[in-house]
Symmetry: C2
Subunit: 281 residues, 2 copies
């Protein structure tokens, strides 16, 4: 497994990799969710490149950029074991040198939900993803459904900006009790960790109602809210039942594919999760 | 010479073109300025692609998008004669289909001069150039010095977004009387056409002062303004003596490379021109 830090090193190493090339962009502190993306890329591509970069421009000023967990030696060992060809670990200074001034913004699909709660987040995501795509030039790029809106934003910018690549979205990987894997789960103390299962409970309650025939969007949202209300450590930030294509909230009857999603503070830790109804990402 | 309209056609045709590939992005209605770019690309590259697209998103609502001159049959004949390999003529609907929502913005270097006078102009330019680059994947892209700020904006986004290509800026091509070639010169009536030489006269007056040792930025701007003031058909919009790297106005002494530039209405037609002092683009 090769590693690169600078853009020149990355480009030099990338030259020798056969097509099709799969890219798995990550912020490191890898868990089974990331590794499932790496395995999908390994299955489907002749070359696999993983980037590890905690991207400062997608964090708000009050968010957890500084304390976001990092463990590069462990990450590299995990990726080596998965047969990854090349790992790129650029530096913030390398990605955003003095005088940096170019931004990519996606409008409608980035506006609600995470975009509304985290101003500037998707501008940072879209910009860094464009930089990663131009540097690595993958044929396929792999993202997790856990960040469903991010996947939709990236799909949109790939189509809008004519990137010659396919965005592959892989299923959310969960702990045995249903909690979606996230590098941020490390922030939870044992009591919070138990409480954190409430996100998936809320989603599956609404999914069960949907499968039983419920199509009223308000009642599906209420099904999630009712579950969340029973967990004293949970402070919901939003609960959404939205159209899967443009993330506009369903009003009245849900008559097409829907994304159930929610953001919930468990103590001081903000967690998100989602399920798709009647379709797939 | 091949031609393509849709993105699929372009990609199909591009596959067979050997590297290095040079791209000359144009809005058509070609003149010797464009052809000088094509000839530079032909000299330096194994393949030459020209795009012709009057990009609606770089025109303001009160600007001349609808009446911008177009003559595709003539353009294609000129490009065929220059030995161009592939001409891409996308449609506005193909480039900006229903639901389009992704934009590229460059900040500081796009803010003054043309950026200040034409809000949104460089957002449209940056966005369409990213789309052209991703579609064509050139090794080199050719632009004219006539649009000096545009060249700097594109250089900046190429570096910032990690595009693996070189931006080549070619000298402004002028009519025998010094008027910079521009598709918009067609708007000028005979009297205005004669008056339009005042832009280059103003620039060369300031350049002569500089060459005679003048380094005071205000006096260099005044040298341009004095020439413009003698032409009754000219209404100057801005007159600038700016740092060549970031386009901030020089204050006091000009102690490094400078861009002299100006925008002037001649009757109803807005013209721009520039010269570089003590450096090159």
């Amino acid at each position: 497994m090769e590693t690169a830090i600078t853009l020149d090193e990355l480009r030099q190493a990338r030259k020798n990799l056969p097509a099709p090339l799969g890219l798995v962009p990550t912020m490191g502190y890898l868990h089974e969710g990331h590794l499932s993306l790496v395995r999908a890329a390994r299955r489907e591509c002749a070359s696999v490149v993983v980037s590890i970069f905690v991207n400062p421009t997608q964090f708000g000023p009050q968010e957890d950029f500084d304390r976001y967990p990092r463990d590069l030696p462990r990450d590299l060992a995990l990726l080596e074991a998965e047969g990854v060809d090349l790992v790129w670990t650029p530096t913030p200074q390398g990605m955003y040198p003095e005088g940096y001034q170019t931004w990519v913004t996606v409008e409608k699909v980035a506006a609600p939900l995470e975009g509304a709660m985290r101003p500037g987040h998707f501008r940072g995501v879209a910009t860094v993803v464009v930089k990663l795509f131009n540097a690595v030039q993958p044929d396929r790029a792999y993202f997790g459904q856990k960040d469903a809106q991010q996947a939709l934003v990236i799909r949109r910018l790939v189509a809008d900006l004519n990137f010659p690549l396919e965005v592959v979205v892989c299923p959310t990987v969960r702990e045995p009790d249903g909690l979606a894997m996230s590098s941020r789960n490390i922030y939870l103390n044992p009591q919070e960790r138990r409480a954190a299962t409430v996100l998936y409970c809320a989603l599956t309650a609404a999914q069960a109602a949907y499968q039983a025939g419920e199509r009223n969007a308000d009642r599906l949202r209420q099904a999630m809210e009712a579950v969340l209300a029973r967990e004293p450590l949970a402070r919901p930030q939003y609960v959404s039942c939205a159209r899967l294509d443009d993330l506009q909230e369903w009003q009245g009857e849900v008559s097409g594919p829907a994304l159930l999603s929610l953001a919930v503070f468990i103590g001081g830790t903000r967690l998100i999760d989602n399920l798709v109804l009647g379709g797939e990402l």
